[in-house]
Subunit: 273 residues, 2 copies
Amino acid sequence: MWSVKDVYYISGSTGILAANYGQALICQFPGITFNEKTFPFINSVAQAKETMQKILEYAGGRRPLVFTSLVDPQIRDIFDSTEVEFIDIFEHRLTYLENILECKALRIAGSSRQTDAVVLKERVEAIHFCLEHDDGLKTHQYNQADVIILGVSRSGKTPVSVYLATQTGLKAANFPLTSEYLQTYILPNNILGNRMKMIGLTTSPQFLSNIREKRYPGSKYSSLATCREEIKQAEQIYQRYKIPWLLSTGQSIEEVATQIIQKLNLATIKRFA
Amino acid sequence: MWSVKDVYYISGSTGILAANYGQALICQFPGITFNEKTFPFINSVAQAKETMQKILEYAGGRRPLVFTSLVDPQIRDIFDSTEVEFIDIFEHRLTYLENILECKALRIAGSSRQTDAVVLKERVEAIHFCLEHDDGLKTHQYNQADVIILGVSRSGKTPVSVYLATQTGLKAANFPLTSEYLQTYILPNNILGNRMKMIGLTTSPQFLSNIREKRYPGSKYSSLATCREEIKQAEQIYQRYKIPWLLSTGQSIEEVATQIIQKLNLATIKRFA
């Protein structure tokens, strides 16, 4: 078994997909340390040769893993060397799709729809909307929201909202369940018209307490008793108003966001490579 | 040539990677309309069979594209049918890596490091930092920033900052070049100590004017003359203070973010699948 491996991600565009792809594989080998580096925007044979030379110089005889997402065969082939473990993440797939779809592929780097002006505009608007409607701001504009995330302080509302806006173009607002609502089990009237867009977050008291402790150590706010009480109250509010909710403990931002999309059956604009 | 194709992304986790992978391929065929749907969290043979049945019922004899990122062979095999165009995005790659790395793969869905508590914490902190330091807020805390993005109003500072925080865990602040700075060509003293973390955004006057027009149609603020003047002044500020800068026109949020990482040689925490 190897204890350390160098890993490179080479792309004609940002390299984000190649890196995500490679990471999904190498994370299946937790015993090995991987040194990762991305070389984005490799769009000429000259750049490719220069990059390959750097990789080989640094390798010093060891064989690094090289993941590429290059769609130009001339540039791709420069990395397809016996001196590295070469992995073309698309391999023969474009040719395969050309046959299935009976149509020639463009083979142009970065031609994914991420730069499409309409998508870009929607996404930028969603991000601005999210920031302007963070933490209970501008509730009178909730009609414009695609989703409204409820939860107690530090239950993960903001990160999930920001993720949804940035990566799916959804206009995500979030509303904090502060003591005035928790103690009365009543949500303000002016947001209830948009109840169908709401989703509640909940978490384990221990997890919440740990997070709050980092901000306000030793406080009543971060005590396990307070966290337990607030979470119980929040869940009762969700039940009372028939708001679907989910547990975020131990989940990544992506996992929570994906479940929200599923539960509310939200139509997202294209995801972005 | 097909004019319409149904495309499914099947995953044991969020399905984000499978969708991004599939989209990177199908976007190379702009003449075809693709109807896409993700089935996330498919973690049992029973769920897989149910999902496959839905896909086949809906297909009505047409052969849809099915991209999977399933690492459990039993679940994966349910989709490997002649009734669909089956594409396992990892195919034999895990076995290949097992041989190279001389180590058995976990083959557990969603085991990517995205749920790692430290990474999650850093990322959540970066998102909160970003929101608290948007648009020139709390400049006295710029010492804690990893990167400070400068630009005129609507040049794309906020979306890029939010993206960097969400997807790379970088603490990104952004500072607006408003008229007081533009007209004097002087940046405030209290932010200059962090000049080495700064990057400037610029854009074409036409592009900026179009964006501003949507918010304030017919205003002096959104006129081509104002946009041209502000951009010229901003670029002169970048030159004066030797702040690196880049043109965002026609680029996706990811492309601008990747260039910022490159130009400032920033070390990001792991990217997230």
